[in-house]
Amino acid sequence: MRSASIAAVVIGSLALTSCSGAKESTEGEAGGGSSDTLIVYTNSNSDGRGEWVTAQAAEAGMTIEIVGLGGADLANRIVAEKNNPVGDVVFGLNNMFFETLKAEEAITAYEPEWAAEVDTASGDPDDGAFWPIVEQAIVTVYDTNKVSESDAPDELSDLWEDDQYQGRYEVNTALGQATPQLVLAGLLSENLDEDGDLGVDDDGWEAVEEYYANGSPAIEGTDLYARFSRDEVDYGVIPSSGIASRDEEYGTVTGVISPDEGVPYVTEQIAMIAGTGNETGAQEFIDWFGSAEVQGAFAQEFSAYPVNETARAEAPAEVVELIDSLPKQDIDYGFVRENIAGWVEKTELEYLP
């Protein structure tokens, strides 16, 4: 009886299922932070960073497991889990996300051993809930092989105000992601007004409208530099850490627009997750990962710009030079954090093409 034997298989696998389900769940409890394995949440695990950190930590005698997710998803997950946290440490998210985590009481303050080596202003000067590790500039770039420096705009607003740039700059409309959110924050921060809609005056919203209306929307799955090389656009926004590898890959020589008001900077932070069952482990990891030695090695390996001043000496010279040449835009991240969700929603509903 073939059907009977199939039925037996199905029933058998059902029985197996219930056993293994139960077994998995007991194993699963161990992941809640109480075991020896430290669960490290990060959005900075790509390009081999996750593997690198895991290997280095193992050398230092720590067993860690990286949970790597995109910024917004990761922050959502940590907040959703806050009553029963799964992770022990989180690093790599920018200050905006960390402000959210702090407001939701999903992270808890811990002063690392290297606290004196970093500029507290880049982290959380008031409560010390999170600590800065790596800094990045969000820059508008072009290929100097195609666009001469004199043709490039001096101010970002030229892009949408001057006809010659119409449709020649890329705008990223995926506002769920960190970089497009920072671009938005940068645009609106120049036009804050208590009485305006969502704390922004009409000029600010007009700028946003013009910015998206005159740009060329990013194409899902197509890199900005690939669009440069096809002559689809001339300008676009990327985080500074992505420049070097693209120049190498596409043979471009990147020029950076440096407006007077400066460019948005983001600082990747590290913090202990509130309610972790493994405080000692989490603190040990934070002390280790943020130390000058590890940050220096990390900077060297991944062309990062460490906040730790001792570690900065180890960073590649061109990275330091670029970052030092770009003034920081004055952005009140506390204010941005409170409003960015509303800004994104309004932009998404009213201004995106």
Binding site: E24, G28, G31, G32, G71, N84, V86, A226, E345
Partner: protein, 620 residues
């Protein structure tokens, strides 16, 4: 034998126990968490906030996107039928040379979808696609952007969603009463008359079912509009995804999802009515197998043959390209200039070179297998009860079990995390957040509507007379279920299991919030390896994973379908058993699927899933 009362159900202790378990499960995992989330969304401070409605309806962009979603759904309902019926006819009804090869070509959409499918077409016909380039070399005045917007989205999604026709309609056509066709032929009817007056009317219930299905896929379209829609044709699904991820905008996401959900529910209600009211004699009572028909008009034959093979090329090109691209340097793909020097194994080396590449595959295999077996096994009996005892209680439960079609997976996942992060009396005081169990629960939940619809249809197609006969012969009801009914729905159940398995393999939306850190599933791993600021090979790596997934999915389908269906299907020696597994080029929202109607084939392979494939574009 239909009774609209509860009483007959209460006679059997087995049914009572099943009902109690079902009610517990529905309340615990479907109603309670989602109600929780929706209440906190729409009543932020204990006070109802209807501002979402106002915010949404004052947005031109949102209204446009919503309109586009419905427009796309309506268009697809027509175009998919045209193409779908055509490919079913040329592979299953007409006697064309190479129909088996044609079938395999058309079946390629079964094993890939989402962003890769859309990207594949874009690489061929898009602005820098080689067809566009070739045409422009001859006719330079052609607009390089010709393949974008509404037109392009409709073309790509039409081709991608004919899957359902191949599975449902393909198997329905095999069961047409051939003697009617013979009779018509003897009376001198032309090929066209027979097709128009006999074959298509007999297929009408099934055509109606797949049309509804197509409509729902169109409503939830996600990736094709993103890649090909341009600024003129964006749909609502991407907006729902963005808003689901922000706490303060979640009410808009929920509202939009509910609007699409209402459309789904209305269609569902229509389906239920039709299922109940009609008895369709489309199935042959006398088993005279269908013989493939010759096209007698030579001109028509040439035209049909050419059209079939052109379509074949259109279907197969993107797949070949994806395999080819998985061996190419990413710069070559992106810039569109390919030379021999660009061929490389380095993409495969990257994927297999990372230390733990096999582990996510195994984790996902286990999760998908467990979830798909549990959901089918668990719903087998439930579907039978629903089908046999239509009463207010069962229909309420049935509608509740469709909740996962209405809410986006992201919201369901978040609701689960937040509900089970503290000891919950409904599950004996356990905490599920942070355990491996929660993802399994989520996978089971999201597959319930699909599984239920198809199983119910499977049972509906079994004549009551079989069961009556067993009872008259003295069989107990459990025995009858086990020995008579179960074997008859087994092919359907196996097919659903395989489809569920395939669609869960590369899930990202549920896993992202629920996976236990020590058990990283494949969707997360793919995402991690394809994003990153310095990762320029993301597209190539996505292609490598797609090729690997195609192999696994193909194998899964072969294991299930190749074995259970082949003895009967191979009777004409030419036609391969219908594999299944659909791949909507679409939707992260309500993954829609509606059953074939009552009294259509038992082993109709189901189709269509909405999958938001991990996209290479970073979500950092």
């Amino acid at each position: 034998m239909r009774r609209a009362s509860l009483r007959p159900m209460l006679r059997s202790p087995l049914i009572i126990v099943t009902s109690i378990v079902l009610i517990w499960f529905t309340v615990t995992f479907l109603v309670f968490p989602n109600a929780n989330l929706l209440v906190s969304t729409f009543f932020p401070d204990g006070q109802f906030s209807g501002s979402a409605v106002q915010r949404l309806f004052s947005s031109d962009r949102a209204m446009n996107s919503l309109w586009h979603s419905f427009l796309l759904a309506g268009t697809l309902a027509v175009t998919v039928n045209v193409v779908g019926i055509f490919i079913v006819l040329v592979t299953k009804y007409f006697d064309l040379r190479g129909s088996r090869v044609l079938w395999l070509g058309y079946a390629t959409t079964l094993i890939y979808g989402g962003i890769v499918l859309a990207a594949g077409y874009n690489f061929i016909y898009g602005r820098y696609g080689f067809v566009t380039n070739a045409v422009r070399n001859v006719f330079p005045e052609v607009d390089p952007n010709w393949f974008s917007g509404y037109f392009a989205v409709v073309v790509v999604m039409t081709l991608a969603t004919t899957t359902n026709h191949m599975l449902f309609l393909g198997s329905a056509i095999a069961k047409i009463d051939y003697q009617t066709i013979e009779a018509a032929k003897n009376m001198g009817a032309s090929t066209w008359t027979i097709l128009w007056r006999i074959v298509l009317p007999a297929l009408r219930p099934m055509i109606f079912a797949v049309t509804v299905l197509t409509f729902l896929i169109g409503l939830g379209a996600l990736t094709a509009p993103l890649v090909l829609g341009g600024t003129d044709f964006q749909t609502i699904a991407p907006m729902i995804l963005t808003f689901s991820r922000t706490t303060s905008s979640r009410d808009i996401a929920a509202l939009l999802a509910i609007i699409l959900g209402l459309a789904t529910i209305i269609l569902l209600a229509i389906m239920n009515r039709v299922e109940k009211s009609g008895v369709y004699f489309s199935v042959a009572k006398v088993a005279t197998p269908l013989t493939k028909q010759k096209i007698r008009n030579p001109i028509a034959k040439v035209i049909v043959t050419i059209a079939a093979w052109v379509l074949f090329v259109v279907y197969v090109l993107p797949v070949l390209l994806i395999v080819l691209f998985s061996f190419l340097d990413s710069t070559a793909i992106l810039t569109g200039t390919i030379t021999w020097a660009d061929f490389t194994l380095s993409n495969y080396a990257t994927v297999f070179g990372s230390a733990s590449v096999m582990r996510p595959f195994i984790v996902s295999l286990v999760y998908s297998a467990l979830a798909s077996v549990i959901v089918v096994g668990g719903l087998l009996f439930v579907a039978r009860i629903f089908q046999k005892y239509p009463n207010p209680l069962t229909s309420l439960l049935e509608y509740l079990l469709h909740i996962p079609w209405i809410l986006p997976t992201i919201l369901i996942a978040l609701a689960l995390v937040m509900t089970f992060d503290q000891p919950n009396p409904l599950i004996g005081g356990q905490v599920l957040t942070g355990t491996t169990l929660l993802l399994l629960v989520a996978y089971i939940i999201v597959k319930i509507p699909f599984t239920l619809r198809l199983l119910k249809a499977g049972f509906a197609s079994i004549p009551d007379s079989l069961e009556d006969a067993a009872r008259i012969l003295g069989a107990k009801s459990l025995f009858t279920f086990r020995k008579v009914l179960f074997p008859l729905v087994l092919p359907t159940a196996a097919a659903i299991t395989a489809l569920n398995f395939n669609s869960l393999l590369d899930d990202y939306d549920a896993a992202v919030f629920l996976y236990q850190p020590l058990y990283e599933p494949l969707g997360i791993a793919i995402k991690a390896s394809t994003e990153g600021e310095n990762n320029l090979d993301s597209m190539s790596i996505t292609f490598v994973y797609t090729v690997l997934l195609m192999i696994i999915m193909g194998l899964a389908m072969y294991l299930v379908y190749g074995r259970s269906a082949s003895p009967r299907k191979r009777r004409r020696g030419g036609v391969t058993p219908p594999t299944a597994a659909a791949s909507g080029a679409s939707t992260g929202v309500s993954a829609p699927l509606v059953s074939p109607l009552a009294s259509t084939s038992v082993d109709a392979g189901p189709g269509a899933r909405g999958s938001e494939e991990p996209t290479p574009a970073g979500r950092t």
